[in-house]
């Protein structure tokens, strides 16, 4: 009695999406960790391309209810990585939830940088790109999840 997946494509794509999400989340985690270290050591972020990192880092928007945004980023990426530990609809939904929330907040912060602060932090842009990719991958993963197997 063997289980037969209904759609072979979806079944094959699921692990690849999981790995891709994990890889992008690790990159995002590295960026957020760097910004967290910079925040607590009082250093200035290395900002070779755009020179707005210090402006963004020192602005009112660098903290949310007293919690540095960089720390929230670390928490967000860890939550995404944590939700990848197990397969299942609930876990895929959790990944999508964290990634979509991260994407929405990153979009807001990017708007703040461009419109309100008139400064671009290349690290924040990097994190926003990671969150955008994660949101797309997480949504695709939910929509293309392999359906339950039927017994012949």
């Amino acid at each position: 009695m063997t289980a037969v997946p209904l759609t072979r494509d979806a079944g094959a794509r699921a692990p690849a999406l999981r790995v891709a999400i994990g890889a992008v989340a690790l990159i995002g985690l590295a960026i957020a960790s760097y910004l967290t270290v910079v925040h607590y050591t009082g250093d200035q972020p290395v900002c070779a391309i755009a020179h707005g990192c210090a402006v963004v880092q020192q602005s009112d928007y660098a903290a949310l209810a007293g919690i540095p945004v960089a720390v929230l980023g670390v928490a967000g990426y860890l939550a995404i990585l944590g939700s990848l530990v197990r397969e299942g609809e609930l876990w895929r939904g959790a990944t999508a939830l964290f990634a979509l929330a991260g994407f929405g907040f990153s979009a807001w912060l990017t708007y703040v940088e461009i419109v309100r602060l008139d400064a671009i932090c290349i690290w924040c842009v990097g994190s926003a790109i990671c969150m955008t990719i994660l949101a797309v991958l997480a949504v695709v993963r939910v929509l293309s999840a392999p359906p339950p197997a039927l017994r012949p």
């Binding site: 009112d60 939904g93 964290f98 979509l100 929405g104 907040f105 309100r116 602060l117 008139d118």
Partner: protein, 262 residues
Amino acid sequence: MSTQSKPTKRELREQRRAERLESERAEAAAAARKRRGLTLLGALGVAAVVVVIAIAVSSSGGKSDTPAPAASTGQAASLFAGIPERDGVLGKKSAPLTLTEFVDLQCPICAVTSKTTLPTLIQDYVRTGKVKLDARTLHFIGPDSSTAALMAAGAQQQGKLWPFLEAFYAMQGEENSGYVNDGFLRQVAQAAGVDADKALAYARTAAAQDRLNQANRDAETLGVNATPTFAVARGDGQAKVIAGGNHDIGSLSAALDAEAKQ
């Protein structure tokens, strides 16, 4: 001419089984699609709520739009009582060290520094004649910073740059919200004891703009790209950066003491 043979019972059973499986597959696929849609909708809904709340908290910036009470601006002004200020330089002319603070009037850490670091600097170093304080008002946070810096140049003309900076920090509003208008600057000027009309008139001159340009050039020379940044110079010597960003008064004092011993 061949006649099609009648399916056997076994074949009929297999056919019915295949049809049943196909139907179950179709039903399962439809149910899975529906479930995925609901999962995604749920995630989207919760994420949207989280983001809206986060944006509401973030855009408030944790700050009140109302200016600080007059008491706090009065305290700031009294900090400088009796200390001479010439061309934006606060302290005795004979002080061997010049500590230049690079600020942006919209910078929240500069406002914090004015409360945490400046009182100690003034009491222990400026009043004792060891150090004189200079300031460079940068304007890289945005247009409100430029307006504020030009007005600061007007206050400097009247020998009231430092009281103006402190009064401004005490009333600092949300970054680049357009709050730095003539009305707001008049309030700050009044709290700092600055003649608002004169300062506003000076702020519109090319000389005021020159001061901003000079501040930018000085920042560029020293590689200053964040505020506040402190640079120290002995006499007319070359300035060097000794502290910046989230510094603490302990490390700044130590750097100043070390410089004084040289």
